[in-house]
Symmetry: C2
Subunit: 455 residues, 2 copies
């Protein structure tokens, strides 16, 4: 096993690998792009699908107390009045009367003046800034054929409100009582003034939020439970413990209605940043929607007991999880005289589970045995067949997309019906009967996996 040297991972290296291997492309690239918007390529789609389905599996399939929901992106605009987003979901902006650009008043040090050469607006006498005013981060649009105030609607900036307004439906129809949760995966949109850092902060992103409704006196206990549960989810999927930490918000940082918020932070190349937030939202949301809608969102027990549940919310975006896995898995090492780049992803996260490679593709027997194995495996898993180029190049291509295993059909296969299986992390090779490959792969995918860089 080669020594896993610790190489500093930079965002540039991640961006470059993503572009080179087709995980992520800058969006609308042929038209010069669109700031901080990205399109996911084949391997990005496959990896995101794994993250999504593992989250849903742990939240819904393997539990009794959480159901799924998929609410609309454009909700009745009164939802956002009740939630406080219309009045309060905003950043302070200043206009520069000289260069006519707008900047975030609380982030002037990050801004560049529109006059070349670029200067910090706060520092130059050229800049004549207005007083800050609040800029709402919700994308606005109009629904229907009329173009007046009555048709204004918003793209949701979070999926959570779609859950709160369906609380009563689920309570009645799913025959639930607190503690129970509602989980949702879907896109949210925020007109960020300063998006950036690749997938970390984008104007559209795919959220995975779960609102867990509990009796008020159990809120603190469930808040702690969900922090622990979510942290373990990342650890079980192989993120290194040394790159994860829980940071509890100070009372000043918290929303006024929250009695506790913790970030599960990941050590991205840009530093420790929020990966997932877990918040104790109290009864704020259900109370607000009760007030604004006139529909009582409360739990009434069979014995007449009656209360507004408190809400614990673990909320994350698939994009940030993907970025964390890419950063955690990225490795460069020297093997013999060669360098390789390898993505050490948990096999359940890896976009391709195995590659099937005929050693000498022009050998018809090898080609046909490889093809048959590939056809068998792909009925059960996402696998690749690659018969183009030197075997070493083919291995390195699979290493870069994080494929945990490669099955190679070689001369010996034609003699004894065995294949070589090569391990991405250790580079160990062993031989398996070709008839046993499928069962071997099924079982290998269920084994616990730990990063060789975990130390």
């Amino acid at each position: 096993m080669p020594e896993a040297a610790e190489t500093p991972v930079t965002m540039d290296k991640i961006v470059s690998l993503c572009r080179r291997r087709g995980f992520v492309f800058p969006s609308s690239e042929i038209y010069g792009g669109l700031g901080s918007t990205y399109d996911y390529g084949h391997y990005g789609v496959l990896t995101k699908a794994n993250i999504r389905s593992l989250w849903l599996r742990s939240m819904v399939q393997e539990r009794d107390d959480i159901v799924a929901l998929d609410s609309a992106v454009i909700l009745n605009p009164r939802v956002w009045e009740a939630s406080g987003h219309v009045s309060g979901f905003s950043d302070p902006l200043v206009d520069c009367r000289t260069c006519k650009l707008r900047f975030r008043a609380d982030k002037l040090e990050d801004a560049s003046c529109g006059r070349k050469p670029s200067r910090h607006p706060g520092e130059t006498p050229d800049c004549d800034l207005t007083e800050p005013r609040q800029f709402n981060l919700m994308f606005k649009t109009q629904v229907g054929a009329m173009e007046d105030a009555s048709s204004v609607a918003y793209l949701r900036p979070e999926t959570a409100q779609g859950i709160f307004v369906n609380f009563k439906n689920v309570l009645q129809l799913a025959r639930r009582k607190p503690p129970f949760g509602i989980a949702q995966v879907g896109k949210s949109f925020r007109n960020e003034i300063t998006p950036g850092n690749f997938l970390f902060r984008m104007r559209e992103f795919e959220q995975m939020e779960m609102e867990f409704f509990v009796p008020p006196d159990q809120a603190e206990r469930w808040y702690r439970y969900w922090i622990e549960e979510r942290l373990n989810w990342y650890l079980d999927l192989g993120l290194r413990e040394s790159n994860l930490r829980v940071r509890e918000h100070t009372p000043e940082e918290r929303s006024h209605y929250s009695s506790g918020t913790s970030d599960i932070e990941y050590r991205y190349p840009i530093g420790w940043q929020e990966l997932e937030g877990v918040a104790n939202r109290g009864d704020f949301d259900l109370t607000q929607h009760t007030l604004h809608s006139g529909t009582k969102l409360e739990y009434v027990g069979p014995d007449g007991e009656r209360y507004t549940p408190h809400v614990i919310e673990p909320a994350v975006s698939i994009d940030r999880i993907l970025l964390a896995f890419l950063c955690d898995g990225y490795d460069e090492e020297v093997v013999g005289e060669r360098e390789r780049t390898v993505l050490r992803l948990h096999p359940k996260i890896a976009p391709v589970k195995a590659a099937v490679l005929p050693l000498i593709p022009r050998n018809e027997e090898m080609a046909s045995r490889a093809r048959n194995l590939f056809e068998e495996l792909r009925r059960h898993h996402v696998v690749e067949h690659d018969d183009s180029g030197q075997i070493g190049r083919r291995y390195r291509r699979q290493d870069e997309i994080g494929t945990p295993w490669a099955f190679t059909i070689d001369e010996q296969t034609l003699e004894d019906d065995t294949v070589t299986v090569r391990d991405r992390d250790t580079l160990a090779q062993e031989r398996l009967p070709i008839s046993g490959v499928r069962a071997w792969l099924d079982e290998a995918l269920e084994r616990p996996w730990r990063s060789p860089k975990a130390g």
Copy 2:
């Protein structure tokens, strides 16, 4: 096996079942809803996830020639200029000077005047209609902090254009050459003036589109191939042949650039309507984007051969597929002296694969055996455990959500370690060893399924 009487399925019955069992809720209901917008509940989410994953499986996992993409909802607005959507994606509208409402000029017969009692505007002297003008169906918004023309952007009305603008990326990085395809699943948005018919026409819907790029002289062949392939996909998933047909558009109906378009139509309760469209789009899209972007979107072969591929596009929405399955599967029948409503869904489409039911839940031994079986099965499939109410009621609940099998733990289980398996369609019951249930279910899910109503 009870006789499967043919009951007329109405949209009202489908809407009512969806509401009652938590497949679909009117969106933002506590705020009076939002026209033609729906939220999917637990079973809706699970069923849609099955449809999505079966489509991706058939398009990507089981083929060599199609890769996946997930492009942004808000693209650079020049994309929509090039595609023709800014100038041409519109309906003709008229204003009524009397009631101040707007109507589709080409659908006046469906419109209701705002003056009560409702009257058809075209028929009443009260209505004073303006000349028709074009109303663009794209939702408009603004990106960034400036609110002027330069910041205008659109929500995508289709996912296809995100594919075309990534053609070159995929060609280079996925090492593909025509014929090859790019598949995408994601939400699209259209500001329909007359949405309606439940899930059939909504303002936001989840598209599944695949653009298949071929050498020009193979276009006609691949067009026929994809019509056949997609039709068979529905038949394999158990939609009744008598409810499906292919209708080729007349030259007058087709887009000017299309040399062939066919609808796979389904016989919904509202009549034969487009389920999926398969279009031969020629080289229109790649040519337009080449002209507008200045980036040549063409294929150059190793021997210098050079052409703009033609595009075959099968395009459908998950929502319409779900509606078709619900309509096709909905059945009411009399069994003995009882009526039951049953959703006869293909097991791969059914949201829940099996129910585990202790016959007498207060019997501790039965309860614990049921719980153990449930825990084992849910590691592999979406299953339910139900221990509340009479066994007959529990069966009927599962029938209504389309669960193909129920495993019941009863007195005999405690004696001989067998359980009863009840078949949703035939109501046949047989006994299985409890230790073999998992393997039985795995295998049952792979069996072909045909609707007992297929005749």
